[in-house]
């Protein structure tokens, strides 16, 4: 029993080290790593996330009129966030979904239909569609924007514009 346990730890350590050296190895291992045991330790490296991502939504009513774009907000930090930061999961999820979608767009191009069936796109569409509305709407559309603070100014760029989707 002890030999099996030690062997398992040794194998896990070797695979973890291999995954840090090669992105291809990491991707290959993660295909089979259903429990997320293989770590990726490249925190904020090599290229740190210096972009903010923004989800903006607009709706179309039965009268075909469009609403203005409105941003889905990040959850604000509290003064004790160094110890207690419940909003970070939502904020990190926004970042992860956008980064994931950016990878899909980068690999397939922005007009490839497969993007519309990707997990990040479906996640965003589901989230955006369920957002409470104060007005009657029949269809919705979202745009992903990125922004970067640099030398006191903010650079803003569009990342992706969705199609219009019917609302239930």
């Amino acid at each position: 029993m002890a030999a099996i346990a030690v062997g398992f730890l040794a194998l896990w350590l070797v695979l973890s080290a291999l995954a840090q050296v090669s992105d291809r190895a990491l991707r290959a291992m993660r295909r089979f790593d259903v429990l997320g045991l293989i770590p990726a330790y490249n925190f904020f490296a090599p290229t740190p996330g210096t972009l903010d991502y923004h989800i903006l939504v607009r709706d179309r009513g039965a009268d075909e009129l469009l609403t203005s774009w409105r941003e889905l907000p990040y959850l604000p930090a509290n003064p004790f966030a160094f110890a207690w930061n419940p909003g970070r999961r939502h904020n990190k999820a926004i970042f992860d979904v956008m980064k994931d979608l950016a990878v899909w767009i980068d690999e397939l191009g922005p007009h490839n239909a497969s993007i519309y069936l990707s997990t990040p796109y479906l996640t965003l569409l589901d989230h955006v569609s369920a957002t409470p509305r104060t007005h009657p709407a029949t269809r919705t559309q979202f745009v992903l924007m990125s922004s970067r603070r640099r030398h006191g100014a903010v650079d803003i760029a569009p990342v992706f514009l969705s199609s219009f989707h019917p609302l239930a």
Binding site: L9, P39, P48, T50, R88, H151
Partner: protein, 261 residues
């Protein structure tokens, strides 16, 4: 201290990270709700096996109401591990639940997790395996080497990055909404030399971390102290609160491997 006392200390620290994390989810469950960004209805579609023949097993625990129960039980298990009492069997069961819960979180959705969750899973599994008789020493080595791998990988990848070497990385990160800090951003953005120095300090600490294992007591103390300061800084400036507990939970193992054997 015995090897089991080092393991117990590590267990308490990792349990603190898990307890805080679970409670944060329970207080703000929106992200896990059916239409949340880490919701199960879409998350289950991300891999074919999640809806395959084993799908019903996952459905039994992953729907948002049931998953909240899982989180509550995992919080209770983590709390039991933080406290100094409880017999061997309840503590092993609690640790098992903490580890299974960490794996379930990875299965449910890949969105919203961070490196602290990853380290909790790695250390938690190792602590569970350490319960096998005569494996404690190997488990402490495993935790120490995983910590060194984590820091060194992060450090060397930063060293290889022109953005980090130029000194633009820290002001860039501290200018963002989710990891940013207005005052720190202003200082580093206005003083590029300070930003470069801070960036190189982070790279040096992370890349040199394995030197903590070579057995020179002052060097081990120095590197672990730098690690503590680093994680306190990221907790205060970047609000990476559970990183502190998750990574400091590996320090007893580093101390054991370097100095106590």
């Amino acid at each position: 201290m015995t090897e089991h006392q080092y393991l117990a200390l590590s267990e308490r620290l990792i349990a603190l990270a898990v307890a805080v994390s679970c409670l944060e989810y329970l207080v703000r469950p929106g992200v896990l709700s059916d239409h949340g960004l880490a919701g199960w209805p879409v998350g289950r579609l991300s891999r074919p096996w999640k809806t395959g023949s084993w799908g019903w097993v996952l459905e039994a625990v992953m729907t948002s109401s049931r998953y909240r129960v899982v989180l509550a039980v995992r919080f209770g298990a983590a709390l039991l591990l933080v406290l100094p009492w409880g017999g061997t069997v309840p503590r092993v069961l609690a640790l098992g639940f903490v580890v299974v819960g960490a794996a379930l979180a990875q299965v449910r959705s890949s969105y919203g997790h961070d490196g602290a969750d990853q380290m909790c899973l790695v250390v938690g599994c190792a602590l569970l395996i350490a319960r096998v008789p005569t494996v404690a020493d190997a488990a402490l080595w495993f935790i120490a080497l995983q910590a060194c791998l984590a820091y060194t990988t992060a450090g060397l990848k930063k060293v290889a990055s022109p953005v980090w070497r130029s000194g633009q990385a820290l002001p860039g990160v501290l200018g963002t909404t989710i990891y940013g800090h207005a005052s720190a951003y202003r200082i580093l953005n206005g003083h590029p030399r300070v930003a470069r120095l801070a960036g190189f300090s982070v790279m040096a600490m992370e890349a040199a971390f394995p030197l903590a294992l070579i057995g020179l007591r002052p060097l081990t103390y120095l590197i672990l102290a730098c690690g503590l300061v680093f994680h306190l800084s990221t907790a205060v400036l970047m609000r990476l609160n559970t990183f502190f507990w998750a990574f400091v939970a590996t320090y007893p193992a580093i101390f054991y491997v370097a100095l106590a054997r």
